[in-house]
């Protein structure tokens, strides 16, 4: 049987992937992963069974939520044109489009979508990570998909959150 530390270690590449997509910034993403690892190891004794992987996703998700909260308290001017219109051409266009589309999502919806399509978690696992009922996960997922489709179809984002 794998030890707790081995389980944590095996999850690092997936955590980096999730963090990168969640923040769309490789430095911030790796900082998040590092903080996640430190907290997980520190609180191993608080882990009462279950899946180490889901638990790590939970920590990372919460840490990023806290990070966004503290950012939102600072006066912060973000450039709007940066995510205003999808790119029409270029080799990287597809990747940049999806990146910008993700950026227009509300954080909860982005988490739900990424955990399902990128990390392959089940709806039930995502519900555990987000601490909400499965129905809420499904409606977040549905709203995320509508928003991304609207964005990629060239419509303006239905809702711009100042976050």
């Amino acid at each position: 049987m794998a030890t707790f530390q081995q389980n944590v270690e095996a999850t690092i590449p997936a955590l980096r992937r999730y963090a990168r997509a969640l923040t769309r910034d490789s430095d911030i993403a790796d900082d998040l992963v590092q903080d996640t690892l430190v907290r997980a190891l520190r609180s191993e004794h608080l882990f009462h069974g279950g899946e180490v992987r889901s638990w790590l996703y939970t920590i990372l998700t919460n840490l990023n939520r806290n990070r966004l909260r503290s950012l939102s308290r600072r006066p912060h001017m973000s450039s709007l044109e940066d995510n205003d219109a999808p790119d029409l051409a270029g080799p990287e266009a597809g990747g940049r489009d999806i990146e910008r589309a993700l950026a227009t999502l509300v954080e909860d919806q982005r988490q739900a979508l990424l955990l399902v399509v990128l990390e392959g978690l089940s709806y039930r696992e995502v519900a555990e990570v987000q601490g909400v009922p499965i129905g809420t996960v499904m409606s977040r997922l549905a709203r995320a998909r509508v928003q991304i489709k609207t964005y990629l179809d060239g419509g303006r984002p239905a809702l711009r959150r100042v976050k």
């Binding site: 430190v38 939970t58 990747g95 489009d97 709806y123 555990e128 549905a142 998909r145 990629l152």
Partner: protein
């Protein structure tokens, strides 16, 4: 969106895309999609979104893990680091709340504190917070200038030795306190503090079953709370929904309660 009378719901279409559809619905959904081109196009669009996301980020998991994220490095750095929140984590129980709010893996620190205690106490405390924090003329029964009387009165009614924390060091003045009905029908003590710009925080205390628990965080719409039990008294510190600020207040309260407990024993 999906027709109201349709035999296939939109939820089922998402479940179909995500491989969560029960096997006995697979045939119905496939047939439905074959007959409804617009729905099939929607499903295709969702799949394409997922493909783009995987194409954009999937490779990250295949990159070599940077040295600072190797587990032994993380351990070493952790021991060496003097990060500010580490001080807060000195009591082992406190570590839980840094991560808290998750899905219940955490820290029923000392056994008996069921999640129900957490839910009922924080719900009561947040109700009281929301009710009295907007009160301009009569927020309290006993003003903060009568601290000794307040302490004595509420300790007697609760049947537990209370202490009204002094939060001047973080710029919070004691407005005063009042007696409230507690979650179990017994009495609860309620203190209110006010900061320089009028922001208010409250502490709600009532007797609990558990001898002690870990610190836990509860986030509401506009208000939030930290809960813990120490020496069979539950404490809920409530304030505006700003976690860092509330954490700071909680830390001061916790330290004073802890100190007073240490003095007693």
């Amino acid at each position: 969106m999906v027709d109201r009378n349709s035999p296939v719901t939109e939820e089922e279409l998402h479940a179909y895309v995500d491989g969560e559809l029960p096997a006995d619905r697979l045939e119905a959904v496939t047939a439905w999609l074959a007959a409804n081109a617009d729905q099939a196009a929607l499903v295709a669009a969702w799949r394409a979104q997922a493909d783009s996301i995987r194409a954009r980020y999937g490779a990250v998991a295949g990159e070599p893990v940077p040295e600072r994220l190797q587990l032994d490095q993380a351990l070493k750095r952790d021991r060496a680091s003097g990060r500010s929140w580490a001080a807060l984590a000195s009591a082992a129980a406190l570590i839980a709340f840094v991560i808290g709010g998750g899905a219940g893996w955490f820290a029923r620190g000392a056994a008996a504190a069921g999640p129900n205690d957490f839910d009922t106490f924080t719900a009561e405390a947040l109700d009281a917070y929301r009710l009295y924090v907007v009160e301009v003329r009569h927020p309290v029964e006993v003003p903060g200038s009568e601290r000794a009387h307040l302490t004595q009165w509420l300790s007697k009614r609760l049947g537990a030795e209370l202490r009204v924390p002094d939060l001047q060091s973080i710029n919070l003045k004691l407005v005063g306190g009042r007696l409230l009905p507690g979650p179990t029908g017994a009495a609860a003590a309620f203190y209110m503090y006010e900061g320089p710009s009028g922001e208010r925080f409250t502490i709600y205390c009532a007797k609990a079953e558990a001898p002690q628990t870990a610190l836990r965080f509860k986030d509401g719409d506009s208000s939030a709370a930290f809960y813990w039990v120490d020496d069979k008294v539950a404490y809920v510190v409530s304030g505006p929904s700003n976690r860092d600020q509330l954490e700071n207040v909680t830390k001061s309260v916790y330290e004073q309660i802890d100190k007073s407990g240490a003095k007693k024993s």
